[in-house]
């Protein structure tokens, strides 16, 4: 997966989402989920994604459990949970194996997405860990001043405002500086080049053919 072009991985993401919707059996979706897991392991990205995968599995289990308790059959509940895992897992695979600037280059030069939108999308993904770290530091700062999230759910929600407010203000301030910094590094100028090599190779064309075959097969079977 690491050697595939970003465009191939983007198309795989789309294809897996389509396959997840076309498949409606527990066995088929299980194969799809474990197939993606195998790709993640082969790409040596399991270490980066296992926490997200675990959280995803728990969320899917809760979703399936709720559906079962609300009267759906066991198989339908399992299909819903597996489908949710499958459609999200592929994004983890994409993000764990693709550099943001490669993704931007593919979106701009091959998918014809305007640079500003492609940059906005990839930059937003890049800042998720920073946002989490900042949230943690705000929580610690507030805890030093007596903040506690204990109590009823309503009390927790209201007290969490003490975290959200500075977090939002810091994010706005950060984005303002970032915007100025980008402008002063030529962002928005007329000329632009990419160092990322996003050209398609024979491996990518083989993957396109395989994806097309699987999609066609699933459509016919369904």
């Amino acid at each position: 997966m690491n050697k595939a072009a970003p465009l191939t991985k983007l198309i795989l993401t789309l294809a897996v989402s389509v396959w997840s919707l076309l498949l409606h059996t527990v066995s088929g979706l299980t194969i799809l989920v474990f197939g993606q897991l195998a790709l993640i392991v082969m790409a040596k990205a399991f270490g980066k994604t296992y926490k997200a995968l675990a959280a995803l599995t728990v969320f899917a289990a809760v979703l399936a459990g709720l559906q079962y308790l609300l009267g759906s059959g066991l198989e339908l509940s399992l299909v819903t949970g597996l489908r949710m895992i499958s459609m999200t897992e592929v994004f983890l695979l994409l993000l764990a194996t693709t550099r943001m600037q490669d993704l931007t280059a593919a979106l701009v030069s091959q998918c014809r997405v305007p640079y500003e939108y492609a940059f906005m999308f990839t930059a937003a993904l890049r800042f998720v860990p920073d946002f989490i770290a900042e949230s943690r530091s705000v929580q610690e700062a507030q805890a030093c001043r007596g903040y506690s999230a204990k109590g009823s759910i309503f009390r927790r929600m209201t007290s969490y405002l003490a975290i959200v407010e500075p977090l939002v203000l810091r994010a706005v301030s950060r984005s303002e500086t970032m915007a100025m910094s980008l402008a002063l590094r030529g962002f928005g100028g007329a000329s632009r080049s990419f160092t990322a090599n996003v050209a398609l190779g024979s491996r990518d064309y083989a993957m396109f053919a395989a994806m097309a075959a699987v999609t066609a097969g699933l459509v016919i079977v369904r």
Binding site: R99, A123, T177, S181, A183, L184, G186, G189
Partner: protein, 272 residues
């Protein structure tokens, strides 16, 4: 090279934060801008880089009106380094971060590679080229932001309080880098509150107070004359203050610890 001519600027028309300021920056100069918080120092740098447009007056780049220039246009001439490096860095490796500017300016891949290699060498970051920027020290991050600006090969570098929050080694390293860049012909504009830097490094000091330029001259002129230093929220560097105590008649002006040592050696009449 770059000039503000009778510039007035305010976020509200009736409340100017800069009043009729003129300032000229030549090629290869080393200039420091000082003054209390809110005096208009940062606003001057924002006008120079086209991040703000003057309400009246003109900004000239190489003698031509730069009113129509965008910050991206100015980026070809001026590199800007903000105070907080964490708010400027966003790519996954040091090398990729440095390459962003040249990519935006449309350099060819070979030119980008060369520019990045040179900028990282100059700033001493070649060893960490593949590192994840958040894992760098504060000083390294600041040097990375300088490398990112240098990779665009600007003729001028503006730095807003670059030494804040740095340990003494990183501070010294950064100042040596700026001196080196200046000796290679890059004009340096340093916004600073650090009086030791103000006394020692720039060729020219500009002091801002309440939106006006109240002083422009050499560091020696600033600290040797009877200027209302305290009123401008400046102070005498330790070496200058000791020199004033030793030579109250103003017969000698001490600007640095080195100056002081030399004068003491002469006064004591012998070698160390």
């Amino acid at each position: 090279m770059l000039e503000l001519r009778n510039v007035t600027f305010g976020y509200k028309q009736k409340q100017p934060v800069l009043k009729n300021v003129s300032l000229s920056i030549g090629a290869g100069e080393f200039i420091a801008i000082a003054g209390r918080n809110g005096s208009g120092k940062t606003t001057v740098t924002r006008l120079l880089t086209a991040l703000k447009k003057p309400n009246s007056g003109t900004v000239l780049l190489n003698g031509e009106d730069a009113a129509a220039n965008t910050p991206a246009d100015m980026a070809r001439h001026i590199g800007y380094v903000f105070q907080n490096p964490d708010r400027q860095i966003f790519r996954d490796t040091v090398a990729h971060e440095t390459a962003f500017g040249p990519e935006q300016l449309g350099f060819t891949p070979k030119e980008i590679e060369d520019a990045v290699t040179r900028a990282l060498e100059l700033t001493g970051l070649s060893d960490v080229a593949e590192s994840y920027p958040p894992t760098l020290s504060r000083g390294q991050k600041q040097r990375l932001t300088i490398a990112s600006a240098l990779a665009m090969q600007p003729k001028m570098l503006i730095l807003d309080e670059p030494t804040s929050g740095q340990d003494c080694c990183e501070r010294q390293r950064l100042l040596e880098l700026l001196t080196q860049l200046n000796s290679q012909g890059v004009a340096i504009i340093l916004v600073t509150h650090d009086m030791e830097i103000l006394a020692r490094y720039p060729q020219r000091v500009v002091v801002m107070a309440e939106g006006e330029k109240v002083f422009e001259g050499t560091p020696r002129q600033l600290f040797s004359s009877s200027h209302p230093i305290a009123e401008w929220s400046l102070s005498y560097p330790t070496a200058v203050a000791i020199g004033q105590e030793l030579f109250p008649d103003g017969s000698e002006t001490v600007m640095s610890v080195d100056d002081l040592c030399q004068l003491l050696e002469c006064e004591l009449g012998g070698d160390r």
